[in-house]
Symmetry: C2
Subunit: 213 residues, 2 copies
C-alpha cells in the first residue's frame, strides 16, 4: 500500500525534524512553524499530522524509541550476552551528538508527561519499550550462566532502567565536558552489572522483590 | 536589615507561586502573568525579580531545594543513621502532592537545563546540594559500622542520587496510582541500601570507583 508507506515516511521525517528542533530549543522554545521549516514541509502538513504540540512531542518520542531500537539491533546484531546488555544500555545515554538530541527529546517529553495526563500512557509505553531489550538479555544471560539464576529479569530490567534514566539526566544537564563523563558513566554502569553478576541468592526470610504495579 | 529580609521573603513567595504554576502546567504552559496572578503580586514586581522565564525557573528550583532541605532537617532532626539516609532519600520522591509538585518543577528545570547552557551550572549546583545530605549520612553510617568502611561516600551519594532521579522520573510520569507505587519505590530504595550494607570489599586488582569528573 504505497500511500500508507508514504504517510509513515512523512511522519518519520516530520518527527525527525521535531527531534532536531526540540533538541536545540527544548519544548518551551519549539514551535510548529520551526518544525515545518526544519522539515521543508508546509505548516499545513505539520498540522495535518500533528494537530497539537503534545502530539508532535509524542511523535518525537516515538521516533527516538525507534532510533534507539534500530541502533541496539544493529550494534548487538541480536546478540543476547551480558556484553550486549551493556551495549543496549549505552545506546540510551547522551554520549554523542545524536544521543544527546534524543536525551533532550526524552527529557522534554518526561517533563511534559508529568503535567499532561494524556501523555502519561505514552510515557508508560516508552518505559516498557526501553525495558524490553534489557529484560530479554538479562533472562538470556541468566540461562547462559552469566548472571545468577535467582534474579527476576523484569525487576532487574527496571532497576537498570532507573539507573540509565538517572545517568541520562545527570549527563544531559551538566557543565562537565561530555568526553570526561563517558568513562565515568560506563564505570557506573559496569559497577551495576558487576554487582548484578555477583548478587547473592536472597535469604529465605527475604521476600521476592516488589513488583512494579 | 529589614529591607533585605523583605526581598528574600518576596523572592520566596514568588518562587513558591512559580512552583505551583509549573507544577500544574509545566514550563511550556506557564507564563509570568499566571505566576503574578497566583502570587497576588503585580506583573511588574514579577519582572523586577525575574526578568526572564529561565530566571523564574531557576528561582523555582532554588525554592524546591530549600523545601527539601527543610523537610530533611525536620524529619531526621539532624540524625545521621542509615534510617535517616533513607528518610532523606524519600524526601526527593513524588510520593505526595507537595513532593509531586517539586518533582514536576525539577523535571521542567532539568529538561530546560539540557538545552539552555546558562542553566546547566544551576543544575550542577542543585545536584551537588541534593547529594550533600546523602554524602554526610553515608560517611557517618560507615564510621558507625552500619555501612562497610571501604565505601567511598561521595561515589555512593552519586549512585544513590542516580537511583532517586530514575525513580523520580518513573513516578512522576506514569499512569499507575501513586499509592501503589510508594511501596514499590521504597522497596527499590531498600534493596539499594541493603546491597550497600552488604557490599563486599573490592578485590585488590579492582580499581577504585571512577570519580565523577
Amino acid at each position: 500500500v504505497p500511500k500508507e508507506v508514504d504517510h509513515q515516511a512523512r511522519r518519520r521525517e516530520l518527527a525527525d525534524a521535531a527531534c532536531r528542533v526540540i533538541g536545540r530549543h527544548g519544548l518551551a522554545g519549539a514551535t510548529l512553524a520551526q518544525v515545518a521549516e526544519e522539515s521543508g514541509w508546509s505548516i499545513g502538513s505539520m498540522r495535518y499530522y500533528f494537530p497539537s504540540k503534545d502530539e508532535l512531542l509524542a511523535a518525537a518520542l516515538w521516533r527516538v524509541g525507534e532510533r534507539i531500537d534500530e541502533r541496539i539491533r544493529r550494534r548487538t546484531a541480536g546478540g543476547m550476552s551480558l556484553a550486549d546488555l551493556r551495549t543496549a544500555a549505552l545506546e540510551l545515554l547522551p554520549l554523542d551528538t545524536r544521543r544527546r538530541e534524543e536525551s533532550r527529546v526524552l527529557l522534554a517529553f518526561l517533563a511534559q508527561a508529568a503535567v499532561v495526563p494524556e501523555l502519561a500512557a505514552a510515557a508508560d509505553d516508552a518505559a516498557q519499550r526501553l525495558q524490553e531489550p534489557f529484560t530479554a538479555r538479562i533472562a538470556h544471560a541468566m540461562q547462559a550462566g552469566q548472571l545468577p539464576a535467582h534474579l527476576d529479569p523484569g525487576h532487574e530490567a527496571i532497576r537498570l532502567q532507573l539507573l540509565i534514566f538517572g545517568l541520562m539526566v545527570e549527563l544531559a544537564t551538566t557543565t562537565t565536558d561530555p568526553r570526561h563523563l563517558a568513562t565515568w558513566a560506563q564505570a557506573i554502569l559496569d559497577e551495576h552489572l558487576a554487582a548484578l553478576a555477583a548478587a547473592p541468592a536472597p535469604s529465605p526470610e527475604r521476600a521476592t522483590p516488589a513488583r512494579r504495579p
